[in-house]
């Protein structure tokens, strides 16, 4: 079974693709670029619109001011004309020199306004109308002055009003008519100015609306493109996760089938080896048969490890926690592993602090962790060395430690010792590289921590913690019940 191949394909991909924060680089650049573009387009469109409206307001204001001023000036002409008539008439009636003075002032005012209006000529019509006003006004003035001169001269009292009626009144009507036409013309210009302003406003609104719509459309397009990209990235991500999960599940299923199919022939081997051992008269044959049985059980332990590792990977390792007597479990692990220590003359030692009593754990799983750690320690301890299990209560936890006097672990290897299938290049005996990975999985499934302290040449010390409890262990949990609960076979995994 190409378990290694599964590992390569399924899991590394899974852990790489699983991280949603790690988007592909070009995509992030594209996203940032699009975002920047959207901001620039919107800001540009808003600026163009604002600028347009500001210009428009200013222009409108100046048009209104100019034309209004001209209309006011045109009206001033009328009042200056009226003032001239009133002053002339006043002099004719009273002969006070004061009226002559007023007449002069009114004429000056008229001329000033006329000059101001002449400086603001927009068209020939404008000019012609103003010329008409100036001309009729000059004629009127001449006629008026003639009457006034008569008044100071020899003319009779009857003659003057007649002359006035004949020469001045028609001239005045002409001036008034010319001024009226001029005012009407200027008012028309003012209203045209307003119309112009209105049409400018309408055009500005249309332009702004077009610019803003284009900007919004562009943004919407970018948003759509980006969301499409994002959606496809998300789909790819989801697909990767799903396929990784499928691969994991498929591997788990395959492992289950393989485990089951391997276990029946293993059973047959173990049974026949047991039978052979019982039947044999020859001690050598009995030993060989026993060895065959052990090998079969070792193969099963490897299967168990692979199943455990797969469960840990899927986060499906089940632990049923119950109060366990720490001393008892530790001694059970020591008893089980004693046979491994003897050939290397390794001294197994247990140090328990007084306070340690009961831990909340799955007894079989705790035993598995201890046998994995102690088995490793024995494997790596030098001949005649020591392996020590110590337990200590620290707060609400119990800390287990397993130390050996082996060659220790290089600092660059320390971060990898709990990795799956990891094996230090320390030579020596075979193992699957799953033991520490499983120990870590079990401890973490209990909510505990596991770590290692080591220096090259100084041996290694593995620690793990489990929650302590004040409850008493129930002895029903002891393995006497099922045959399944017998000591785990001593095997390096």
């Amino acid at each position: 079974v190409p378990i290694g191949a599964f590992h390569q394909e399924g899991l590394t991909t899974f852990s790489r693709e699983k991280d949603p924060m790690r988007m592909p680089g070009p995509f992030m650049t594209k996203l940032a670029g699009a975002f920047l573009l959207v901001v620039v387009v919107l800001v540009g469109a808003a600026t163009v619109s604002l600028w347009q409206f500001a210009g428009l307001a200013e222009k409108g204001q100046s048009i209104a001011r100019q034309y209004t001023e001209e209309v006011v000036n045109a009206e001033r002409l009328r009042s200056a004309q009226d003032a001239q008539a009133a002053a002339g008439r006043g002099y004719l009636i009273t002969r006070h020199a004061e009226f002559l003075q007023r007449l002069q002032e009114a004429e000056d005012a008229f001329d000033q306004v006329l000059a101001a209006l002449r400086s603001r000529i927009h068209s020939e019509e404008d000019s012609a109308l103003l010329d008409a006003v100036a001309q009729t006004s000059a004629e009127y003035r001449r006629a008026g002055h003639r009457v006034l001169a008569e008044k100071g001269g020899s003319a009779t009292a009857e003659e003057i009003p007649r002359q006035f009626e004949r020469d001045v009144v028609p001239r005045r009507a002409e001036v008034t008519h010319a001024i009226d036409e001029f005012v009407v013309h200027k008012e028309k210009l003012l209203s045209t100015g307003y119309d112009e302003q209105r049409s400018l406003t309408r055009r500005a609104i249309a332009t702004s609306a077009a610019v803003l719509s284009a900007a919004v459309l562009a943004c919407a397009m970018f948003a759509w493109m980006m969301s499409r990209d994002l959606a496809s990235a998300y789909r790819r991500e989801q697909e990767a996760v799903r396929s990784a999960e499928r691969a994991l599940a498929a591997r788990q299923e395959l492992l289950g089938i393989v485990a089951h199919d391997l276990r029946s022939p293993l059973s047959a081997i173990a049974m026949k080896a047991g039978l052979l051992r019982r039947r044999a008269d020859d001690e050598n044959v009995r030993k060989q048969a026993e060895s065959i049985g052990n090998v079969a059980m070792r193969m099963d332990l490897l299967i168990k490890s692979l199943l455990d590792a797969a469960s840990i990977e899927l986060g499906k390792l089940s632990v049923s926690r119950a109060p366990c007597d720490v001393d008892e479990v530790v001694h059970e692990a020591m008893d089980t592993l004693g046979s491994l220590a003897t050939p290397k003359s390794i001294h197994l030692d247990v140090r328990a602090s007084e306070a340690v009593t009961v831990v909340l754990a799955d007894r079989q799983r705790l035993l598995q962790v201890l046998t994995n750690l102690v088995g490793n320690a024995i494997k790596f301890a030098l001949e005649g060395g020591d392996v020590t299990i110590a337990t200590e209560r620290i707060g609400a936890e119990i800390r287990f430690s397993v130390s050996d006097t082996g060659p220790g672990i290089a600092s660059e290897d320390l971060p990898h010792v709990f990795d799956r299938f990891w094996k230090a290049e320390r030579g020596g005996r075979k193992g699957s590289g799953l033991g520490l990975y499983i120990a870590k999985g079990i401890v973490e499934a209990h909510g505990g921590r596991i770590w290692v302290d080591s220096q090259l040449g100084q041996g290694a010390k593995f620690y793990f913690t489990l929650a302590a409890t004040e409850e008493r262990p129930s002895h029903g949990e002891k393995p006497a019940n099922g045959p399944s609960g017998s000591h785990p076979p001593v095997v390096h995994v």
Partner: protein, 128 residues
Amino acid sequence: MAELLVVEDDTDAGDALAEALRFEGHEVRLAFDGEQGFRFLEERRPDAILLDVEMPILDGPALVNRMSRHPHLAAVPVVLISGSPELRRLAERVGTPYFLPKPYRYEQLLRILERVLRERIPVCWSAR
């Protein structure tokens, strides 16, 4: 000496188990699927059944289910045998306190057999 029925589809595993039991002095009949096992059961009621879980035609739990509908067969103790990590739970569901995870050692087999023949707790189908 007891009369035992082994129901196991793996011929090697079944043979090895039957041979070991015979060597221990028991009378053993060997069936290779649940259907055949049930026929043997109907012919003669054994003292205990050693029953594999995964089998073609009629698997272990299905055989126990069928037994439960025959009052005279329901009282036979069953040792459930499987390589599945779920064996303990499966045994609980089938309603037997006896189970033997594959692969098992000769001594494990002797221990469980001794217990079954001493206690003789019948299988009690309670699967939901």
